[in-house]
Structures are given as C-alpha cells and as structure tokens.
Symmetry: C2
Subunit: 199 residues, 2 copies
DNA sequence: ATATATAGTGATAGTTTGTTCCATTTAAAT
DNA sequence: ATTTAAATGGAACAAACTATCACTATATAT
C-alpha cells in the first residue's frame, strides 16, 4: 500500500458505505410514499441512481434494505464492559440501552419511522423477527460465558428467549404508540421482567 | 337445506380438508427430500394432483403450506377453562401444554419434523415467528381479560412477550436436540420464567 | 327430479423478485 | 504508467405470485 489508503478509509469503502446509505434512504422514502409492496426494486435503484443488479449486490433481498443494521457488535461490546457485580439481567439491560443512548435525535426519529414501517408490513416484520433470532443466539452465548454455564443450557436459552420476547413486545408497543420513548419503555419492560412479571 | 348436508360435514368441506392435508403431506415430503428452496410450487401441485392455481387458493404463499395450523383457538379455549385461583403464568402454562398433550404419537413425530424443517429454513422460520406475533396479541388480550388490565398495558405486553420469547427459545432448543420432548422442555422453561429466570 | 345458484378448479398470460453471466469501467498497487 | 482487482451495468432467465376466465362439481330451492 502506498501513501494514503490502506484497509478501512479507502475510497472504495467510503463510496460503498455512502451508496448503501443512499439506497436505504431512498427506499425508506419510497416505502413511506407509495407503500412497501407498491415500490419495486427498479424504482429504488432508479432513485438511488444505480442499476437493479447493483441493488442486489448491496442487499440480497428487497427486505434487507430496511433490515440491515449493526447493533449486534455494539451489544456485545457493551455487554462485556458491564461490571461483574451486576445481575445478569441488569447487565443485559445496560447493554441494550447503551446502544440506543448514543443515537442523535435525528437518528432516533429515523429509527422510530423505520420501526413503524417494519411492524406494519408483514414481510419486513417477519424478516426482522428472523434477525432477532441471531441476536438471541448471541445473547445466549454472551450470558453463558458470563455465568459460566454451557450455551445449550435450557436456563440460559430461556433467559435469552424471554429478553428477546420482551424486546419484541416493546417494538410493537412503540409502533402503536408513536409518542412513546423506545429506550424508556424497554427499560421499564425489562424491569418488570426482573421483578418476576407482576400483574 | 334438504335432508343431509348442512354446514360442517358437507362433501365440499370434507374434500377441501382432505386436499389441504394431502398437499401439506406432499410438501413436507418434497421439502425433506430435495430441500425447501429447490422444491417448486409446481412440483408440489403435481405431486398432490392439483393445479398451481389451486395450490395458491389453499395457501396464499409457498411458506404457508408449512405454517398453517390452528392452535390459537385451542389455546384460547383451554386458557379460559383454567381455574381463577391459578397464577396467570400457571394458567398460560396449562393452556399451552394441554394443546400438545392431546396429540397422538404420530402427530408428535410429524410436528417434530416440521419444527426441525421450519427452524432450519430462514423463510419458514421468519413466517413462523411472524405468526407467533398473532399468538402474542391473542395472549395479551386473554391475559388482560383475566387480570382486569387494559390490553395496551405495558405489564401485560411484557408478560405476553416473555412467554412467546420463551416459546421461541424452546422451539430452537428442540430443533437442535431432536430427542428432546417439546412439551417437557416448554414446561421446564416456563417454570424457570416463573422462578424469575435463575442462573 | 330438475333447475338454478354457488363454489371450486384449471389454463393462460403477465408482473415482480432475485440469479447468473459477461463486458466495461474504476480504484488500488507496484 | 501499467497491471491487477473490484465494482458496476445490461441482458437473459427461473420461480413466485396475480388476475382473469371458462368449466365443472356441489349445494339449494322448487
């Protein structure tokens, strides 16, 4: 490698990231304007000034353009920083919330719009839920490691399942109540889980 | 209406039910033999001796042929029969398990095969999880009714989310451990939830 | 028993998503 | 500057759906 670009900030990488974000932006706009199903990939590609084939190089399906994000690595990183004296659930709670607290007001607004769209379109909802199973498996491994259990221990699995389930219910809640603050609701819901689901 | 057929046991209804079961059977077989994605709707239709258009009259998507079931009404019926002195979670637990306990050994075997296929094919998994959100909403209403809360109460939502999440984790567990008994695992997992997720 | 209405079926053609292959352009490394 | 590797666009394609229409089988009424 010569003087300037090596691995990360190379021109190619930057251009790719920019193109991807651009495509996602146009997709979100079109989905809102004319509906998810009514929007064709061709239209998205045209709006983003790329070819349909290039669209599919960035996103393997039409759904992916709304689903793709990278919270999992952040979640792991944050979880591993949690002090060992916290309960497991406290650690998970802090980890999940710290990712959100770093977002700007603008990003939060986009996230809310995205969440509403996702929860109202069956295809997107299904893809997102499917994605959450990966998060669940990650959580499982993280918890197993922290507590010294095996990752195929039913107790660990159950724990991770409950946390992800609560997360899903909060996503629904916030989609129905647009004024609700996602982070706050998630915090309250996980607190209830810790209290043993009082009713 | 004349002498014989009225609403339920009419020839039409029976024929439809028979056709539907037949299509599902052939679909499951083909999916196992040559894989989900490699199997076309045309092949399923041919095997079941119907036309592709008829396939889509019975199942609105290819996924549906594996997903369609009717546990929700059974779940409701069973839940409403649970005595009021039980805790809410106990009532849910009994309701979920009673549906399974009525199955024959053969049906359980088919259910296990179906579960393994579903959990291993992303499309089917996504569709199933999406379906579970309906169950979650049903659970929410059932629990709200039983406990006298509103159905948009966060505590109720959280409860339902946790139960469904645990259900999902058990589905994964059983897909990975084919020898595991689904009913038993679900029972144990819900017990752990009731104990406050000990680790 | 027969006629009429209704519901299920199959055939066809069309749209859209998503894949594959190849030629062309563009960035990176020496 | 030249070579090497990656990204792109275009075109042709398979399969999942959709819509429509004519045809058949079933149910209902007289």
């Amino acid at each position: 490698m010569s003087t300037n670009n090596k691995r990360n900030g190379g021109l190619r990488e930057r251009k790719k990231a920019k193109t991807m974000a651009n495509v996602q932006m146009h997709a979100l706009r079109l989905f809102r304007e004319i509906g998810y199903n009514a929007t064709t990939v061709e239209q998205i590609a045209e709006a983003a000034e790329i070819s349909p084939s290039t669209f599919f190089r960035y996103f393997s399906t039409k759904e992916d353009v709304m689903i793709t994000d990278n919270y999992d690595p952040l979640l792991i990183a944050s979880f591993e920083k949690q002090p060992p004296e916290l309960s497991t659930l406290q650690a998970v709670r802090n980890a999940m919330l710290s990712g959100i607290s770093e977002l700007s007001a603008d990003e939060i607004k986009t996230m809310r719009e995205r969440n509403q769209l996702i929860m109202s379109v069956p295809e997107l909802r299904a893809a997102t839920l499917n994605n959450l199973t990966q998060t669940m498996q990650l959580l499982t491994e993280m918890i197993a490691k922290r507590t010294g259990h095996k990752s195929d221990d039913l107790a660990v699995r159950t724990f991770a399942g409950a946390v992800v389930g609560v997360n899903i219910s909060v996503m629904f809640y916030c989609a129905e109540n647009p004024e609700a603050d996602f982070a706050k609701m998630l915090d309250e819901a996980l607190a209830k889980l810790e209290e043993g689901l009082p009713l």
